[in-house]
């Protein structure tokens, strides 16, 4: 039973990171139709920048916030490069973001080396229903839920958020009312950067990150986003948690080496089974 709770909580925590990354996919895709392959890279940026800032003696909290905002700025720049040229088809933009994530890998090795890095989180452990759980994992869950609430408030209540939704739902009409749809696209990349950076900052203390972490993080995030049809943020959260928990249970009870396969097969199965409705939702 204790094992089960441990797996469950750590699964939820990893799932939350996937969900944050996945919601970045959703935000960018909704506004620009582009799938941003750098989504995992942005998380790595978050984690690594936080580790350097913490070593540079910035206090907890400040260091993490600066790291998250930096990831946001990097996301914005990536968006500018990938979608800035007028008339770039979405699939070409995807390949450009693929290039950007490769370029970032070079950057990571140059500045942080090849070994995984784990910045200090909030130490200690907490009792949850009799199981000892690292407090950092609980923090991941709490911060993620807050982030999702803020995100959906931003989209549903704020004027800029509505502008983003408008640019996504009808770019032609958005242009006519004076919304700069391209800039909304860049902004969505910036938001995706913040979400990715947040995921990296939260997960790095328990799961060290390196230049090679971008791909598993991006795939996990994409799988979560596919749960939400690449349009729904809350279903992405659900998808991320399901993915994380199933992965941890498989790793715990069967074998750690099956974890990747299970996540990937789940993603493939959802994509194939739901493809018709996925494309229908995109066409809206």
């Amino acid at each position: 039973m204790n094992d089960f709770i441990t797996y469950l909580v750590s699964g939820v925590a990893i799932g939350c990171a996937f969900a944050l990354i996945g919601s970045g996919f959703v935000v960018v895709h909704r506004v620009t139709r582009v799938v941003n392959f750098t989504q995992g890279t942005l998380a790595v940026f978050g984690g690594l920048i936080a580790s350097t800032l913490l070593k540079g003696a910035l206090p907890h909290g400040i260091a993490e916030i600066v790291a998250v905002l930096s990831a946001g700025v990097i996301g914005l720049i990536f968006g500018f490069i990938a979608t800035g040229k007028r008339g770039t088809p979405p699939l070409i933009s995807l390949l450009i973001t693929l290039g950007l994530s490769t370029l970032s890998a070079a950057f990571f090795i140059l500045f942080w080396g090849q070994n995984p890095i784990s910045p200090p989180g909030i130490g200690g452990a907490t009792d949850v229903l009799g199981a000892r759980i690292e407090t950092q994992r609980l923090l991941v869950v709490v911060v993620t839920v807050i982030a999702f609430v803020v995100l959906s408030l931003f989209f549903d209540r704020s004027y800029v958020g509505k502008g983003l939704t408008a640019a996504a739902s009808n770019p032609r009409a958005a242009r006519l009312v004076g919304i700069n749809v391209r800039w909304m696209g860049f902004l969505s990349f910036g938001i995706a950067g913040v979400l990715g950076g947040l995921a990296g900052v939260l997960i790095a203390p328990t799961n060290a990150v390196s230049f090679a972490s971008d791909l598993p993080l991006a795939l996990g995030g994409f799988a979560a986003a596919v749960f939400g049809g690449l349009v729904s943020v809350w279903r992405t959260l659900l998808g991320g948690i399901v993915l994380g928990v199933v992965g941890q249970l498989v790793a715990g009870y069967l074998s750690g080496s099956y974890q990747t396969e299970v996540a990937l097969l789940m993603m493939l199965a959802i994509m194939i089974v739901r493809y018709k409705s996925l494309s229908a939702e995109e066409a809206k």
């Binding site: 699939l91 290039g99 070079a106 994509m271 996925l278």
Partner: protein, 341 residues
């Protein structure tokens, strides 16, 4: 399509390709380059003509290599038989996974194929019969009965022959009625479907053909290396195939070859640079990743059609101006033109 590269240029290139290996001390790089050209020729066919991206083409290279390793080492079957089976099994595998996978399009297919590669890696790593954590060592040299290939040079010429075969097949596919159907796919799937092109079957056929090229290249690699493990087919290599295909020009017959040669040479130069004494060990990967990425990004932004179609277009324009005559009828395909992510 072939008219865009004059026959003379092809002959000169072929002679160079045949002569150069006689003067190189180590042929590993050369073989890798030729095999990459084989793989990218197939990938370019699929991406350019089906208008879709496959980020995990290494999966089919892996199937081909694994076919050779398992048949020779595990089952003790004749090497030549194993090599013949490599492309066949890769094509069959592509057909089977393609049945569900190719219903996806755009970024879903891109991630789907990437997931396929990772699953293949994971299966190789976890199933001992396929090598498990150790991999399969000691693939025997290629040969028939007691006549066995020794040294690197025969593998070079075998690879070149395979490349020639791949180009010939691609050319015939592109020129055939079937090829026109495939090209219609890159334009618009619904338009292709309404004009009677069986969309899924056509895509499957191109996918399987490009997988056969990859499988054959993988089979030769397995004999040459002679070792196969889950780490022989990293994601970065599959991404490099994409880079080569994009730079050369998707859907152009010679784009795959040109892209593979240029990118391989670039990487080789960078390796030479990073092996200079006194540089930190991370110089290699940093330069390599950095160069790959910059080349890909700049190519996508500034010559999105790729080198071969861009040059061909420029040449045609010049010729048209000079001759002021009717333009040639073979219009360059514009891959992606209508592809929506």
């Amino acid at each position: 399509m072939t008219r865009r590269i004059p026959a003379l240029v092809v002959c000169v290139a072929a002679v160079i390709a045949l002569v150069v290996p006689l003067f190189l001390p180590d042929l590993s790089f050369y073989i890798q380059m030729i095999l990459a050209a084989v793989i990218v020729t197939g990938l370019s066919l699929f991406m350019g003509y089906a208008g879709q991206a496959s980020l995990g083409h290494g999966a089919f290279v892996a199937v081909g290599a694994l076919t050779v390793a398992v048949m020779t080492v595990r089952l003790g079957l004749p090497p030549l038989l194993a090599l013949i089976c490599a492309p066949i099994l890769a094509a069959v595998f592509a057909y089977i996974v393609g049945l569900p996978l190719l219903r996806l399009r755009g970024h879903y297919l891109a991630f789907g194929t990437l997931a396929l590669l990772l699953i293949v890696q994971a299966v190789i790593a976890t199933v001992p019969f396929f090598g498990g954590g150790l991999g399969i060592f000691g693939v025997p040299p290629l040969g028939v009965g007691d006549a066995v290939i020794s040294g690197q040079l025969p593998y070079v010429y075998l690879s070149l022959a395979v490349l020639a075969l791949a180009l010939l097949i691609s050319r015939n596919v592109i020129r055939s009625r079937f090829g026109r159907g495939v090209r219609a796919l890159a334009g618009s799937e619904s338009a292709a479907a309404s004009s009677g092109v069986p969309v899924l079957r056509t895509k499957l056929a191109v996918f399987a053909l490009s997988a056969a090229f990859a499988g054959l290249a993988g089979g030769i690699m397995a004999f040459f290396t002679p070792y196969v493990s889950s780490e022989s087919f990293p994601v970065a290599t599959s991404i490099a195939y994409i880079i080569m295909a994009v730079i050369g020009g998707l859907g152009s017959l010679w784009g795959g070859v040109i892209g593979a040669v240029l990118v391989s040479l670039l990487v080789q130069v960078l390796n030479a640079v990073s092996n200079q004494p006194g540089l930190p060990a991370t110089t290699g990967p940093v330069l390599q990743y950095g160069a790959y990425a910059l080349v890909l990004i700049l190519a996508l932004l500034f010559i999105p059609k790729g080198i071969v179609p861009t040059i061909a277009q420029a040449m045609r324009r010049r010729r048209d101006r000079r001759a002021d005559a009717a333009a040639p009828t073979d219009v360059a395909v514009e891959p992606w033109a209508s592809v929506q992510g």
